[in-house]
């Protein structure tokens, strides 16, 4: 079987898909950024000496990691407005769902990173009179950060791919743009292939960048 690709259609569609790709990168960057903030706080909270804090942060991680992102998006976009009575804009809904989701995964990355640091470091800091918070900030976290660069890079790549799910609430990122073009042209093969190639270029670029960061920080 010979597939005749409609190259003209592809070249016409690529600019439109690329604007969608920019939106995909935006939502991923914002979500992982907020996820980083949530994840750092929750990750540290999971190691807290205060039991309620540990339980609540643990429950958050379990609930988010134990349910599909697609369902979480539906809850934020459809279920919550049904209760509160106010509709949210799809972009906000997408960012909220993805950030909360990313936060749970990032929290586990942080927890692992912090736990991988020799307990002697915390003891040394505390024995010098530094508080727990100071020891975390100046001694534990700087070391943990270096170690979690690779898993954080993986999380960024995973989020970039998973952000395609927000197309279901009509948010026009890369995947949704592809769907809309196909609805008009029926060129399913060309467009989905083009969409896949654009995702691949983005993920490969990120993984190269993470590998570079890893090399840079390892030398010191």
């Amino acid at each position: 079987m010979v597939v005749n690709l409609d190259w003209e259609l592809i070249s016409e569609s690529v600019p439109l898909l690329l604007t969608g790709a920019v939106v995909t990168v935006e939502i991923t960057a914002i979500s992982v950024g907020l996820g980083l903030l949530i994840g750092m706080i929750v990750g540290i909270a999971r190691l807290s000496g205060v039991k309620p804090i540990r339980l609540i942060s643990g429950a958050y991680v379990d609930c988010i990691r134990g349910t599909p992102l697609l369902v979480q998006i539906f809850i934020v976009y459809f279920a919550l407005p049904a209760v509160t009575g106010t509709r949210i804009n799809p972009f906000i809904a997408a960012v909220v769902a993805c950030s909360i989701n990313s936060g749970a995964y990032v929290a586990e990355i942080f927890r692992g990173g912090i736990q991988s640091i020799d307990p002697g470091q915390m003891e040394a800091g505390r024995s010098l009179g530094l508080t727990w918070g100071q020891t975390m900030r100046y001694i534990i976290m700087p070391q943990a950060f270096k170690r979690i660069i690779p898993p954080l890079g993986n999380e960024f790549i995973a989020m970039l791919k998973d952000s395609s799910l927000v197309s279901v609430i009509g948010f026009e990122e890369l995947t949704r743009r592809g769907q809309l073009i196909i609805a008009r042209t029926y060129a399913s093969f060309e467009i989905w292939t083009a969409v896949a190639v654009i995702y691949l270029i983005m993920t490969l670029t990120i993984s190269r960048f993470v590998a570079y960061l890893e090399r840079r920080y390892r030398t010191k």
Binding site: G120, Q121, R126, L130, Q134
Partner: protein
């Protein structure tokens, strides 16, 4: 300087310290020896609350350890040197020394640097100020760790087997620094297996086994005429 009364410590069902009473006078060097698992490290770690005692009281320089604020107040005054150095690997040697004085005592960067350099000179490592810990030998790292603890101007120093993780040829350089400190009148509590050091530098030897202090004596008396049977057995195995 340090007053320990009826100290008890349990790890779950394991009863590690069984009523320890120990006073350390100002400028005194007390050497704690005993077989491994006897509780001597735990005893030391209780003094600055790295292990939380299950019972009894510990007072350092008149402050009884209780709440969190109290603990930090005591930790500022008591330096600790660990078996495995525990230097901060992401900082230069100089920054290792400057961190706590700056953050805990609010010393200016200039003063912290001056103190740090003076201490590095004292332990013979001035030229390593801008190296990272991994670039140093074990003996050098331990000397930096001692300088780091001294940078807080502690009133007492605790040493938890400071030479046990070192290659034999590096033990002397660390012991020499400790001897110097003792000579200058630092109050020291040292857990060690270095019997030569205990004899030469110690004012008093405390023999601990099975969570109890079984014998306390001047070093010469202890090593030449041990009274306790288990102390005799212990010494016969290692000397």
């Amino acid at each position: 300087m340090i007053k320990i009364t009826n100290l008890e410590k349990n790890f779950g069902d394991l009863h590690v310290l069984k009523g320890i009473n120990l006073d350390v006078a100002d400028q005194e060097v007390v050497v704690i020896i005993g077989p491994s698992g006897s509780g001597k490290s735990t005893l030391l770690r209780c003094i600055n609350y790295l292990e939380k005692p299950s019972g009894g009281t510990i007072a350092v320089d008149g402050i009884t350890l209780s709440g969190e604020a109290n603990i930090n107040a005591v930790r500022r005054e008591v330096g600790m040197v660990f078996q495995r150095f525990n230097l901060f690997p992401h900082m230069t040697v100089l920054d290792n020394l400057k961190l706590a004085p700056k953050k805990v005592r609010n010393v200016s960067d200039k003063d912290a640097t001056e103190t740090a350099m003076a201490l590095l000179r004292k332990v013979g490592l001035e030229e390593k100020a801008y190296s990272y810990p991994e670039q140093l030998s074990g003996g050098q790292q331990q000397r930096v760790a001692i300088a780091r603890a001294l940078a807080m101007h502690p009133k007492a120093m605790l040493f938890d087997e400071p030479t046990s993780a070192l290659d034999p040829e590096m033990i002397k350089e660390v012991l020499d620094v400790m001897k110097q400190l003792a000579k200058e009148g630092m109050t020291m509590v040292v857990v060690t297996h270095e019997m030569g050091f205990a004899r030469e530098v110690g004012d008093r030897v405390v023999f601990v086994d099975d969570g109890r202090i079984l014998e306390e004596a001047k070093p010469d008396d202890f090593f030449d005429h041990p009274q306790n049977d288990r102390a005799k057995l212990f010494l016969s195995k290692i000397l």
